[in-house]
Assembly symmetry: C2
Homo-oligomer: 248 residues x 2
Amino acid sequence: MEAPAYQRIAATFRGRIATGVLRPGDQLPTEHDLADQFGVARQTVRAGLGVLVGEGLIVARRPRGYFVREREHMVYRPQEKSRPRPAVPEMDRFSEQIAATGRTPSYSIEVALIEAGADLAERLRLDPSATVVARRRVRYINGEPTNINDSHFPIDLVRDSEIMLPAYLARGTDRVLAELGYAQHRAIDEIFVRMPTPDEVHRLGLGPGTPVAVHFDTGYTESGRPVQCAVNVLPGDRHRIVFERHWS
Amino acid sequence: MEAPAYQRIAATFRGRIATGVLRPGDQLPTEHDLADQFGVARQTVRAGLGVLVGEGLIVARRPRGYFVREREHMVYRPQEKSRPRPAVPEMDRFSEQIAATGRTPSYSIEVALIEAGADLAERLRLDPSATVVARRRVRYINGEPTNINDSHFPIDLVRDSEIMLPAYLARGTDRVLAELGYAQHRAIDEIFVRMPTPDEVHRLGLGPGTPVAVHFDTGYTESGRPVQCAVNVLPGDRHRIVFERHWS
């Protein structure tokens, strides 16, 4: 039994993208031309291409047409966070990495007091109704939102510290925590993969067919007390998460 | 301006799931009851619930109705791979982990000779037209497909070795590589997030709204030569990827 026409159209262009016949940024033929070529209605062409939009393979840029999606993966290295840094850094690591490629990094920052809820309570060993300080940032490259980095701290640890101020902290919150007596020695990275929430779609300007990685980074003191939990939301079309291992 | 009815229905149930009013496995009201309750056509109810199916929050089990999706995250630890193992293991790590929870692990294995292509050529430092041995496995838990683990080796390294046989290798391919003189000392883990291909949907039995993590694991000898590259495809609804870091 032959597949329905819209599926054949989807399969044709999926194949051309997979084999590199069509490259990132290339324009597909118009709906009109494809309707002629496959001998079907434009509505059918649109259904076929809609499948590929949902798979994140092409984007619709009206009124110009359909294009093969371009992906520029920012390298995201959780291990960098636990490597020694210069004593008086002028920039945090994200800014450093982006500025090094000639692009302009920026942030939006807000600080909120929230209830821990189940996910943070489990990781910070708090009651779900306990208050935590949420330092919420969206990171931008050249003005485009790139990822979400929401750090959370038990209120008792950071009350009246700079962490509570919604301002750029060049030396980073890890150093402030250390100054407060909560230096981190160990961290657990957990990565989940799911579709974005409507709020994430809005904050990050995500297109259809763009799943996210959710990276929980929980930091512990030498005595094993969890002192911070960051929730990073990384759109799949913009990130490559990299770790390095050495055999023991 | 009020949101369209189907969006209000989606928002209502998204909220009840997010706040835990509806828990994993719970059944939603029937389309009929929701149409009454919201004063809309069943078609509108179906559109609203369809949004949540696409977000991976609920599943449709016809003819019974809609249920909040249940997620059981298998812990996936790339670092385990580079930790010492008992000298004569009877099971590989996956089997060990699953059997420890009283479930039954199994594999399907096939071996193919393929062209490297761009992704593997870059990581194994080969020509894209070079031949590599692909050892393709689907891992099952209690007969349900769980993830894809396709390992790739330059043909010159593993010709006539057990790696070429499509059979279970209890001591693992890393040990066979070491016996052949290619012990690994370092690995790079790269994680990408995207929607699955139709082939992956088929091999893994994925439902709508289920993105995947693609984990490239490239292993290097002491002299820095890449000797294997595994491509693991991990459905987002079944995996939690975990790393542990210690400050240096």
